[in-house]
Amino acid sequence: MQPGRRNLCAFILFAAAAALLIVAPASAHAVLLESSPALKSAVSGPDVPVKLRFNVRIDALRSRLTLIRPDGSAQALEISKQTPPDTLLAEATGLAAGAYRLRWQVLASDGHITRGEIPFTVTTS
């Protein structure tokens, strides 16, 4: 084989091996460290402050908080612009008693997207 063609073969092998070897799914790495309301907790309404703290810097402008009401309807929560770099702050107002879910999706500063869900219950104060 000609040296040029041999090099081409080696290069293709190198690239193909690189592609083949990573055929496994994987995840990003912004993980939720603490939340308020906490997972499966009961909080008193009608106004519930929301605070989520992560292990890394979060791009708050490109992150989302959505509240799923007991009837299944969704409401986007406005994320406060003045927050520490690892924290998302918002306020859910006028909540009646019932089971809610807080869905979050964050973009970490390194470009990874992560999401999760926090079920919690609102009780009448």
Partner: protein
Amino acid sequence: MARLLQVFGFLSVLFRGATLTFQSLAVGGIVFLIFVVRRADEDSTALRHACLRWIRRSALALAAMQISYVLANSIILRQSADMPLRDVLGANFVLAGVIGIAAAFTIIVLSSSARSSGYIDLLLPAAAIIASSVMTSHSVARLDYRAPLVAFTALHQAATATWLGGLPYLLIAIRQVQSPEVARRLSARFSQLALVSVAVLASAGFMLSLAYVGSLKAVYGTSYGAMVATKVLLFGLLLFLGALNFQLLRRGPASSILASLKRFGEAEIGIGITVILTAASLTSLPPAADLAQDRVTGSEIIARMSPHPPRFGSPSVQELPEDAYAAQKKAFEVGPLSTESYVPGQTGTRPNTPAEKAWSEYNHHWAGVVVLSMGLLALIAQAGKISWARNWPLAFFGLSAFLFLRSDPETWPLGPVGFWATLADPEVLLHRFFAVLVIALAIFEWRVQTGRVASGRARLAFPVLIAISGALLLTHSHSLGNLKEEVLAELSHIPLAILAVTAGWSRWLELRLPSENQTRGVMARLWPVCIALIGVVLLNYREM
């Protein structure tokens, strides 16, 4: 969109691994051209052109990977967060991608023009490529010590590119130059550069480990720590091969060492790719220092790893959940999730039932018996005492049939799901593919062992496939949570992966090294021992 979400995790690691690989090739080539070739005192025009050609190709592939990553991540972000395009374009990963793409195209343009002077200006876009990669690394998102961590990551990646990315160019150079003495000089220069790179990447890597792993307990107690330890072990393997190269350069006459140098270089490239892919897999995990809860303790590892009699009795198919995939989907929908943070498209996990664990242990233990027998027979065959021992690769047929029957019990022929229906499931399809791969291994290696193939590239199928299997084990999926069962499973897979990588590349060296090289004999004994040890590890595999 739903389909894109499903494969998103797969795509992001695929692009990350490929980006790191091509980045290393492009930057490593530029450093090689400037610091190794340029200082060559002979006329090296042909060699320079060959290097430039491969630098251009690597830069083009890098640009393609970066464009793909930015597009995939942007589509996911735009769709999943219902975000205006203007906001997506301002994201940090888009900016990093644009810098990387622009730098790659700058390299293509600069390396295309004919010139008589040096190529020092290529270092600027090379630095931009490293900067773009660092912008999407862990260091940028850290809360504490951000600036030093960014600097250490940049040093770590630049040194890796110089060393591992430069290696293929050394092989190209050795092939290109006519005079053995010139090839030897180029190799000696590259060795010096590699020594400095190794010192830099090890020091920077140590500092990064202090920040991301934090403690010895996190090394064995978390997936991240265990993967870092694996990287260090593979790095040790690379250093061992590098030391053999270094010795060669200092001792033998130029004409006799070049063939050995090339072969060691090939093995180093292979192990180097494995290390880079392990690194790509690491970027998908949260650093160990962030996960203080639910770590695996030393006593839990000892309890799990201590020798136990193998399980040679299997639970019946009826004892297993009827449809494991439906059960997992249901567990994901109704919760609770075993991990509270996940990437879009990631499915929830469901703890295995005792019957499923027993089923899996039985599979591993019988596979261990077969693999241990193969390793021992290969050793006996090498001793030349028993001629039929050479047929040891035929045992792979049994292993393949066993995998086909037992890896997916809910599918044909053991379970209710029909053969054709299973082919639509990627996981089952992957298992079926492995069963076919094992048959291919059996045929190739049996022909080699029995003398039916005495030369040619077919002989290399066995070592390449074994090494790829080892690397696959290191890049499998990770959960975002610190799931004890997952960490324990990972700890049992890591020795298998390292043994497989060692077996693959030692067999490669046995086949490729010139007969006068004494290391060849050592390699010939090493790989059967590794295969036998894989069998021993499999025999002690446990899930409860």
